[in-house]
């Protein structure tokens, strides 16, 4: 078992968003969490990654058998949790290569592996970038600064393939889905997936799931999962919408 969320309740600021949420994810599985806009899907990804400003009021999260809530943001990442952000952050003055070298070496150090020197790292990065069709010039630019939507997603995918997480969370919670960008990320995710890794997709639209096939689909409403099923559940949502699962009409 990779991830087990038990009776989780969490607040964003003063507002209770996650209410008695339960979910188990095993290695090799792809789970999709679907829900209407504003249901708190992104909150779930932030609670998992430990973003400041989100407070867990009760419940547990077990990641690889360890208590995730006791770990710092960076420890969670080093243990193998990776969030593909919907809106990646721009970091002026920090080139992609230098940023990723810090990240890779921090992870290696945590696992007792020797750090990579600049030459070794650049070689590795260029190989991975090539696979994703990333122009080496992009690696010299400051992280996400002036990147198009597609370039930002390419960089997210590159980070994931370089860091090789056990659990990737793909947050595409908002309705404004950039299909080209999603295709790029899906390619990266599909290549990375194997029997030791798992993927959690958070989305509003069924469309994303045509690029990444989920084993399980969960409907998220009113702070928790109201129905679970297989891929056919997402098709039902595509036809009928979320109204059957929410107390409020959309």
């Amino acid at each position: 078992m990779l991830l087990k969320i038990e009776d989780l309740c969490a607040k964003a600021g003063d507002k209770e968003i996650i209410k008695n949420f339960n979910l188990t994810v095993n290695e090799g599985e792809v789970h999709a969490i679907m829900g209407p806009n504003g249901a708190g899907k992104s909150t779930l990804s932030y609670v998992l990654t430990g973003k400041p400003g989100y407070e867990v009021t009760s419940g547990h999260i077990w990641f690889k058998g360890k208590d995730l809530l006791k770990m710092s943001v960076e420890e969670r990442a080093r243990e193998g949790l990776f969030l593909i952000m919907q809106y990646p952050v721009e970091i002026p003055g920090v080139p992609v290569t230098s940023f990723l070298k810090h990240a890779v070496n921090a992870n290696r150090q945590y696992h007792g592996e020797p750090e990579l020197d600049t030459m070794e790292f650049i070689k590795l990065l260029r190989e991975e970038a090539k696979k994703l069709g990333i122009d080496p010039e992009m690696l010299k630019r400051p992280v996400n600064v002036g990147f198009s939507g597609g370039e930002k997603k390419r960089l997210e995918a590159l980070q994931m393939t370089v860091l090789k997480p056990s659990l990737a969370i793909l947050d595409e919670a908002d309705s404004g889905l950039d299909i080209d960008a999603v295709k790029v990320v899906s390619k990266g995710v599909n290549e990375l997936m194997n029997e030791n890794r798992a993927l959690l997709i958070i989305t509003h639209y069924q469309k994303l799931l045509t690029y990444i096939q989920p084993h399980f689909v969960h409907i998220f409403a009113d702070g928790h999962i109201v129905k679970s099923g297989d891929k056919s559940l997402s098709e039902e949502i595509e036809q009928n919408g979320y109204s059957a699962y929410t107390r409020e009409k959309l």
Binding site: T49, K51, E74, I91, V94, A106, P142
Partner: protein, 441 residues
Amino acid sequence: MSDLLPIIPLFGDDIPWLAGRRAQGRESFCLPTAKTEAWKYTKLHTLQRDDFVYAPSKFLQEFEGECEEEHCSCCGEHHSDCTCGDHCQCSHKPNLYIDLPFDAYQIHFNNGKFMPLYPALSLGVEVMTLMQAVVEGQAKNYIGKYIDLQKHPFAALNSAMLEEGLFINIDNNIKLSKPLVFIYHSNISQPLVSNICNVFVAGKNSSLEIVEYYYHSGNEKDFYFNNIVNEFYLAQQAEIKHYKFQNESFKSAHIALNYVRAREGAFYKSFCLQKGADLARNETKIELMQENAGAQVDSAYIMNGWATIDTTTDIDHLSPKTTSNQLIKGVVGDEARGVFQGKISIAKDAQETEGYQMHKALLLSDTAEIDAKPELEIFADNVKCSHGSASGELDQDQLFYMRSRGIGENEAKQILIDAYLLEVINHIDNEQIKEWMRSHV
């Protein structure tokens, strides 16, 4: 420090004009108070003590042919044949040469004293002690002639004690191939006040790179006070690039005035990184005397603890078509205080002048403080000018993004600080010096 300075016999007290400048300095010196406008943000409590030590004149000792010191002034060790002063034959002469990641001519000061090891400079560049320049008659037209001592109390102190320092002359059309590095090393545990004045005279169409490096070895808590005046005289089309890295001990005081006087088409470009000292001020006063003279004054400061670091600039555009540009960026943590005072004055006749100034600071804690006072004083009507000051905190979203990739919180902060200061460090033309400065952020 009291307003009444001790009387220390110095070399050249019998030379009327020199004695006059010292007397003027003594009379003008008055420790600024909270009411002194130019010092109102920079508290001088570090200097509120009465045990300051002034070194005796090294020249007078030498000329009297006696060595009163039990310990060699070079190496600090006792030995019988010490002759001290300029011609020290001491076998214990410390190896002051330091490895720098750039090729340079090195000049050394140890605890405020010039160490007479002259670099082998190319023809057309002359380095001599200030007192030698006094004897030879070159210094009179420069030293302190244009500095208003009423407005610059620490330059007044420097004038009152005027003796130590160098006179550098670079002839017309000479371009020095390597930077001239002034290395100021301190390792003294006494509250020593070192007054050093250097004069740089750059001939027409000459070019010179100067680096000042202030560092300390020994106890981090050592208190000493380096009070520096640098005067730069740029003839037509001359260019001086002046880099400074101030990394004094955490308890020390460092006050410097850089006075620049630029003639037609001359350009003064500076970058100063301030990181050390409990009280530090780097002040730059520039007079753009003739058409097309220009200046670029950039600074970075990074500080924590209880330190105060002050960056003050005052640029006078006195002629048409003069230009100035300033970018100052700071990072302030703990209970430290960053001070920026920047003034651009444009005279009535200085039409078609451009003057720009920007100060930005990053506050790392709730108790850190920034005081900024940008000022524009414009009397001409056809000019382009702007100024601004902004302060903020580290971006929490950026921090989270980096940490979510496994980068530790402190490392992430350091990367962001490095990136923040890079904007100004990138203004340094000399790639090796740029890397050197960057490695110290």
